[in-house]
Symmetry: C2
């Protein structure tokens, strides 16, 4: 309620529920206030057969959800021996003193099923009311996720039968939302009732998502597969991928297939491209490293950029980008190398180019490609955009589409 | 509703409203469904004097919020000449064809005030009803933020008078939530009614937040200042900072004060520490660069780690971490250097240490400090944790607290 925390839990929960064919109809957030929580619970129980709650189960005074739910459903708190044994064991493992206060974490309402929390001290709780499931979990993301996987999703799968929901994504790059909508208008209008198209703008492009629902999952998948093919044909060269996977994963898969390696030379992105590339499990098979050179003399000493090149063309120039990429390829001993140099916000040392100017280069043994960009946003957003554009450029180069 | 997008807008909005002393009481999210939107609007208008809405204002068929609001408040859509001129100008600037469909973006309900959107084509809308403000904005974060700053916040400030809200944060590291709560229990219980204490666990520690509200802002600030001092004294050495600023900013401020520079050698974090350090505006004053060496031979060739060191002690060892830091300091010509080498998840090349083992080293001209960590989570979370712990180690070293 005061904006100190960004809610990543509900997106994760919605995804997992969706996979089971369970629709999320509403998401409510309220503060640690008993009346607000009770009202929200009343409201949601009117419209949903499952209510999932996160947060407020910790050991401190601002955690009021457990006693509140206990009272709401008319139970009383008692120490659960199984939970107590688990909590004591966790404190021993973490070598922390077990305090009286922690005893409270083993108290569970006697009118709920305690859901085991492998990763923490606060158990989840499942209350039943008129066939509806009300489930409370801790707010700490990995604890919530563990309880969902271990305890909640299997139960929901067993007790709530629902339609299958199938998604197909098409990632595009290079055109805006309106342009794409115009190009697809007749196809969109001809979609059957049970299939919907959504346009999701994201860094570096627009993601199209076809969502179908029905009782026969196999038939639905086939139908969406065919539709997706028609959409892709219409969209032509702006299609980047047919899976909803991030660019770093597409790049990784391509490099593994080619048995090739890549290295980076980063200036303005400050290691952010390398961070993305190494988010992929197994990236050490193809990623050599990144030389993050935030100063001109380091571009010279580490990457071997000529002093004269920077003097004549500037640190943010096509010539410098090329020498950075060639240098990175040599120093890192990689098959491919990519470089980036730019000015993402005002206030840097370099004012020889307009704010937002970025040069990128990608090289292999015998080819060099370069590209200039102008980004118009703030530092953070420009860094995000530059990183996505960089990965798109790498991906296109690997696929001979640049 | 299907979890493809994480809502960062509402946290940002809550923060900005809070600064004005406006309480956020509830946050609701619903899908692109007319009934659900109408119900949510009905509900919120009962309990709030301001309702802010984001999303659903784009040019595609799934964007239904504008006609819906128009109807809800009993108006009709008409082309707004000022908005039209702005949209056309934007298309010219972006060199995109202006389509019939885009004409729609200049249509605004005749019963609202159009709010100028400097950064995009969809204007915001302000409806008035019985003294209440209902404001709709696009969902794209930087467009929403621009409209909030330019158009919304000044109006709210003018029309809604409210109590001042003051926060004081204390960042701690090294102890858990229960332990700290126990240590502060009497102080917490003695807090006056208008001051609340919250415990917010976050990567690498627990953040304590004191929140006070009242009509006299200056008196409140003084009161919280004194209270905060009492809490800090009680907490002792686990206090890291008294401001709610990220570690990278504390590190930056310290380096600027010392007129010193820093360089990094990263292995398992893959550039993520450098990314954090360079998120700070003006970091080029003290940040030299990061040598992201994802392979052993690069640790040798670029950082000068001895082949024999890796052979004898392993790539993930105290000895290798020290040579990496010393090497980075030399190659990057920095006053301080920090290194990290570790195994964040299974599936890498190195299986000589248990998954989660990480070694860090920090050096200056005459001192070397090292630290070993064991992280127990998944790859992504381990990377986050390692990065926060790395920055904490750097910050402590700079402050002679290590």
């Amino acid at each position: 309620m005061i904006g100190q925390t960004i809610d990543t839990n509900s997106a994760w929960i919605a995804q997992r529920l969706n996979e089971l064919g369970i629709d999320v109809v509403r998401r409510i957030a309220v503060g640690d206030n008993a009346d607000m929580i009770k009202n929200a619970l009343d409201d949601e129980l009117l419209n949903a057969s499952i209510v999932l709650i996160t947060g407020g189960l910790g050991p401190t005074a601002d955690d009021i959800t457990k006693p509140l739910l206990c009272k709401y459903f008319g139970g009383k708190l008692i120490v659960n021996e199984k939970v107590l044994a688990h909590v004591i064991q966790l404190f021993e493992k973490r070598k922390r003193p077990f305090l009286e206060r922690n005893m409270k974490q083993a108290e569970v309402p006697d009118n709920c099923i305690a859901l085991h929390n492998r990763m923490g001290t606060a158990p989840g709780m499942l209350f039943l009311k008129e066939g509806k499931y009300i489930i409370a979990m801790p707010g700490v993301p990995f604890e919530m996720m563990t309880i969902m996987e271990d305890e909640v999703l299997p139960r929901l799968k067993e007790h709530f039968i629902s339609d299958a929901i199938v998604h197909r994504s098409i990632m595009t790059s290079g055109e805006g939302e309106s342009f794409i909508a115009e190009k697809l208008q007749d196809l969109e209008e001809a979609l059957p009732e049970h299939i919907k198209l959504a346009f999701l703008p994201h860094y570096g492009g627009v993601k199209l998502r076809l969502t179908g629902r029905g009782s026969d999952k196999a038939a639905l998948e086939k139908e969406l597969e065919q539709l997706s093919r028609v959409f892709v044909q219409r969209l032509g060269t702006i299609v980047v991928a047919l899976e909803d996977v991030p660019l770093q994963q597409l790049i990784g898969a391509e490099l593994v297939k080619m048995k090739a390696t890549i290295g980076l030379a980063e200036s303005c992105t400050g290691g952010y491209i390398a961070h993305h590339i190494t988010q992929v499990m197994g990236s050490s098979r193809y990623f050599r490293g990144s030389l993050v050179c935030y100063q001109n003399d380091i571009k010279e000493n580490v990457l071997g950029v000529q002093h004269n090149t920077i003097l004549t063309h500037g640190a943010i120039s096509e010539a410098t980008a090329i020498e950075m990429a060639v240098g990175a390829r040599k120093v890192l001993g990689s098959d491919y190398a990519f470089s980036i140099t730019g000015l993402l916000s005002a206030g840097g040392d370099d004012d020889s180019v307009p704010v937002g100017t970025v040069w990128m280069a990608v090289v292999n043994l015998d080819t060099v490609k370069t590209k200039e960009f102008k980004f118009h946003f703030d530092r953070e957003r420009n860094k995000e955009l530059a990183t996505q554009m960089a990965m798109l450029m790498i991906w296109k180069f690997l696929n001979n589409k640049l």
